[in-house]
Subunit: 270 residues, 2 copies
């Protein structure tokens, strides 16, 4: 699947523009002071959540929609399957997983979400959520009441189209996951997973080669359709092959090319 960029690559934040705390434990390219502003107009993640090229007046209108913030402690849920749907959430800081469950107790992680990504889209169709969103670290989200989004979408064409693009992007992302789950073997799945994660982190100004996993082996396994032991063994194999260094949740990618070759099913002559 060649891990196409899911998220437009925003310019790495410059020092003065950065008002977002770095992801705890990640490897920042540069240090940023922590300042919390309440408006999209001052948010350096705006390029990720919001359309570009808005007029000042349009941005102000959108500012009013997302005035509310919410903090979520690590391990607690932002929303749960069955709960009424009212809002979308833009992740400001922190890291989430979303998962669906069957009656007989199995569950499946459907995605991992980080700063600048939107969650809650599943709730629109039936006015209630159909999955759980769990914070994997202390997090903060911007609450965007969906009826307000619809109101403003009618007036601001760029926002309307942006909402459509966000939903379409999620559909395309899930196509990629289906390809992964339906036709890749364990090594290919884990390689694709690592490349995708590091690419998204890099788009947010973090290192291209180092990352800190926010999730357990079991959660990775659930997402990739593998058992946690298989994830662990596959990590070990990558280490043996000199492709990555792994120390618990700290991962350094030594050869992204080797990972890409694995995903593309080529001979592993790293």
């Amino acid at each position: 699947m060649s891990a196409p960029p899911r998220i437009p690559i925003v310019p790495a934040p410059t020092d003065e523009a950065s008002d977002i705390p770095t992801e705890a434990g990640q490897v920042p390219i540069h240090m940023t002071p922590q300042t919390i502003k309440v408006a999209c107009s001052n948010c350096n993640l705006r390029e990720l959540c919001m359309p570009v090229g808005l007029t000042d007046d349009q941005i102000k209108r959108i500012d009013n929609v997302v005035a509310i913030r919410r903090k979520i402690k690590r391990g607690s849920t932002l929303f749960r399957n069955g709960e009424p749907f009212t809002s979308l959430f833009a992740i400001r800081t922190g890291f989430f997983k979303t998962c669906v469950a069957t009656e007989d107790g199995r569950d499946q992680v459907t995605g991992f979400q980080m700063a600048g990504e939107i969650i809650g889209l599943d709730g629109i169709v039936n006015d209630h959520h159909t999955c759980d969103a769990v914070a994997l670290e202390d997090a903060e989200v911007c609450v965007m009441p969906f009826d307000r989004i619809e109101d403003i979408s009618r007036e601001v064409n760029a926002l309307q189209h942006h909402v459509h693009k966000i939903m379409s992007r999620e559909i395309v992302r899930e196509h990629g996951v289906m390809l992964l789950l339906g036709s890749m073997r364990a090594e290919e799945r884990l390689a694709a997973f690592l490349l995708n994660l590091v690419q998204r982190l890099h788009a947010r100004g973090f290192s291209q080669s180092e990352l800190v996993l926010r999730m357990t082996r079991e959660e990775i396994g659930s997402y990739l359709g593998l058992k946690l032991e298989t994830v662990s063994r596959t990590f070990s194999k990558f280490v043996d092959d000199g492709i990555v260094e792994v120390k618990q949740r700290h991962v350094r990618i030594l050869s992204p090319e080797a990972l890409k070759r694995i995903v593309n099913n080529q001979q592993a002559c790293h």
Copy 2:
């Protein structure tokens, strides 16, 4: 995953209202004459594609959007990966598959679509399609230029919300597929697949127990993350267990309860 209804169940079309040809080879509950009308206002699939409760004026506006029709021969594509995106398509008659591919030649069926369902949503995010849509039988679609949909969405709130719901429904559907691919075994996958298909056909006025598969074992396998031999063997096992009758692509479900038990991972005491 309990196969939640993906598509709202519309009342089985009455004889006088039915202007849609039956799916060739399916098992209709009643016969319908074939008449082709050009407007949503006369289409008995409207409840599937379009919001309900519109005023006459609003329906007329929407009629103008979808004035164009297109016929697709069995085996040919409605759109292809990489082609520019301009329109969504509402399936009027026929049956489609959508599939994504990797550079190294593997591909993955991401869904099967039937009358009343919308395809093309993947193209919105990057203005070009990211999958192929192939007609599995001669088909006809309503072409809905997306910029026109966005225009009218701004004026007709119900249409705006409907578009959002369609995209959200697709996201939720794909969550279900991820659950299937990530955590179910072959028998569970095929059982879930059959129940989902027959449920959607039944919502369109076809039999609850008989269906004609429009796709090959290989395509079923690709969708379910299995090889065609495994699909074939699993069908044979279901036949041995008296759960279904299979004659090539004709399937009769003898015990939907047994299929449900299999999906829910319960003991198979049919």
